[in-house]
Amino acid sequence: MSKPISDYEHIKRLLIIIVMVVAGFIAARTMFVPKDFGEYGHYRGGSLEENMSRPLNYAGSGACADCHENKHTLWSKSKHKTVNCQTCHGALLKHTEDPTSIKPRKPAGRDFCLLCHGKNVSKPTHFPQIDPGSHNPDLNCADCHNPHEPKPPAGDG
């Protein structure tokens, strides 16, 4: 059964709207997609430059050795050699640029060491860990242990 043409009029108009929406999308796409998109991958090429120009906070891992050779030598042979200087002392780029007025932080007390060395049954048993309640609760860790060369103090087995 053939239909009178006017029965299709609303479909035609609907199709025009759909075509306009699709065309609008394509037009918007050409406007909003940055020119350097896809230059290196699925991102804006210029974002690499932007990220490179952001201020740095951390110094290179060899930077500390230039001035603190003793500590560095001690540390690099110790069990803590996998723990970077800036893990404990914080970001140090500013300190390397102005060593006298900007001082690195020294973790004091016990909380910081306990982040790794607090007793926890889920940790591997060979990993050194203490129960802070019974292990010299009144002393600071650094009173007995040198964090740059951690080992049980002499006479402690």
Partner: protein, 394 residues
């Protein structure tokens, strides 16, 4: 270093050994809400398609109501994601620079397809004759609103209406796999995170889909009862019984699949199972065993079962349907919670847990509450502008 010191405060949230990037749980309440809302959309649409495609004439009174419910929830479905990610102004970038091999990035297209190619078109074709009629009978702004929606074509001849009916039907047929795609997709996102044993199962899209149908049907059932009550109209018991029966059947399938998944996990007992079973017995005890399985599934299934098997009186059946639809909606919400939050509570080391503390007076809770309530206001507006009520239209 200040960042490290912040850990001191966070550590009480942690049990056992976990990796540092697992302490803060990133996908919170908003991401729980997202699959919940999308599920309501898919479920409501599938209920509508029962009437249209599968010719279940008993549910005809809720056909338009289901479509409008689906639309009201679909319009807010992206809001939890936008609120969670921040930077809503970047939302269009997933359309402008589509990344075809990322399931998450393709969501924009799945959503846009479902909203524009399926739901809006189906509603438009279904209401077109009414738009023409209302553009003549209404006054003022409303008249113009309907006039614009007619696209200036007043032809409601038998031929034109027959064409609308045919196209509308075709769209519904396309809409069913689209609704499956929309919600199966959400399950797929979780199911394909292969590093997470709580999520990574090929059953996930199917479970999400079935639970979506359950929640959507329960939502329409509740909305139908409440709107009829507010309008002081009689509830069509044949319609309600049929919806209840579908809810019951699909709920039983959904629950069986979920239990199949659980039993499979227990029997397979992979290396992750110790931590997962510990989590189910401790952190998720209230939300999973009590909230999802007992109160949110077994009780409503039993209530629905009672109403069928003991042929309860209409008044009693209404009460049973009312209670079971509310419990179902809560149960499916608990299910989304357990999937989303549960998957992030245990460490990938399988040796520890973190805690999710929802700050009830924090921004996340406020935003989530606002997004959860918003669809009801949108639905109210849609019901005002596009009255779906049979007795007044036909």
């Amino acid at each position: 270093m200040e960042i490290i010191e912040m850990l001191y405060k966070l550590l009480p949230l942690v049990q056992g050994f976990i990796y540092p990037n697992e302490i803060e749980l990133h996908w919170g309440l908003l991401i729980v809400l997202y699959p919940y809302i999308t599920g309501l959309v898919a479920g409501a649409f599938i209920l509508a398609s029962l009437a249209r495609v599968f010719n279940v004439s008993e549910v005809k009174p809720t056909y338009r109501l289901s479509l409008l419910t689906a639309l009201a929830f679909l319009l807010v479905a992206t809001l939890p994601l936008l609120a969670h990610l921040g930077h809503p102004e970047r939302a269009f970038e997933i359309f402008f620079t589509p990344k075809l091999d990322s399931a998450m990035a393709m969501f924009g297209f799945v959503y846009a397809w479902y909203l524009m190619a399926v739901l809006l078109l189906e509603i438009w074709f279904d209401y077109r004759a009414d738009f023409v009629m209302w553009s003549k009978t209404e006054r003022g702004l409303k008249k113009w609103f309907y006039k614009i929606l007619t696209l200036g074509v007043n032809n409601i001849s038998a031929g034109a209406l027959e064409l609308d009916e045919k196209i509308g039907r075709a769209i519904t047929v396309i809409g069913i796999p689209s609704a499956f795609l929309l919600h199966g997709y959400v399950g797929f996102i979780f199911g394909s995170v292969k590093a997470n044993p709580w999520w990574s199962t090929p059953l996930m899209p199917i479970i999400f889909l079935m639970s979506a149908m359950v929640s959507g049907i329960a939502a329409v059932m509740l909305i139908y009862m409440v709107t009829q009550w507010l309008r002081r109209k009689i509830i069509d018991m044949k319609c309600l019984d049929t919806i209840g029966l579908y809810l019951f059947n699909i709920f039983v399938i959904d629950f069986s699949l979920e239990m199949l998944d659980l039993i499979h996990r227990i029997y397979e007992a992979e290396e992750s199972f110790d931590i997962i079973s510990l989590m189910m017995r401790s952190n998720l005890f209230w939300t999973q065993f009590v909230g999802q399985i007992l109160v949110g599934t077994l009780v409503p299934i039993s209530l629905l079962g009672i109403s069928f098997f003991f042929s309860a009186k209409p008044g009693a059946r209404k009460k049973l349907y009312f209670i079971s639809s509310i419990l179902t909606l809560l149960g499916i919400f608990a299910m989304r919670w357990n999937v989303v939050v549960g998957g992030q509570l245990f460490s990938k080391s399988f040796l520890g847990f973190t805690t999710y503390k929802l700050n009830l007076i924090g921004a996340e809770a406020y935003i989530a509450a606002a997004i959860a309530v918003l669809p009801l206001f949108i639905l109210a507006a849609l019901l005002y502008l596009l009255p779906p009520w049979e007795e007044e239209n036909r």
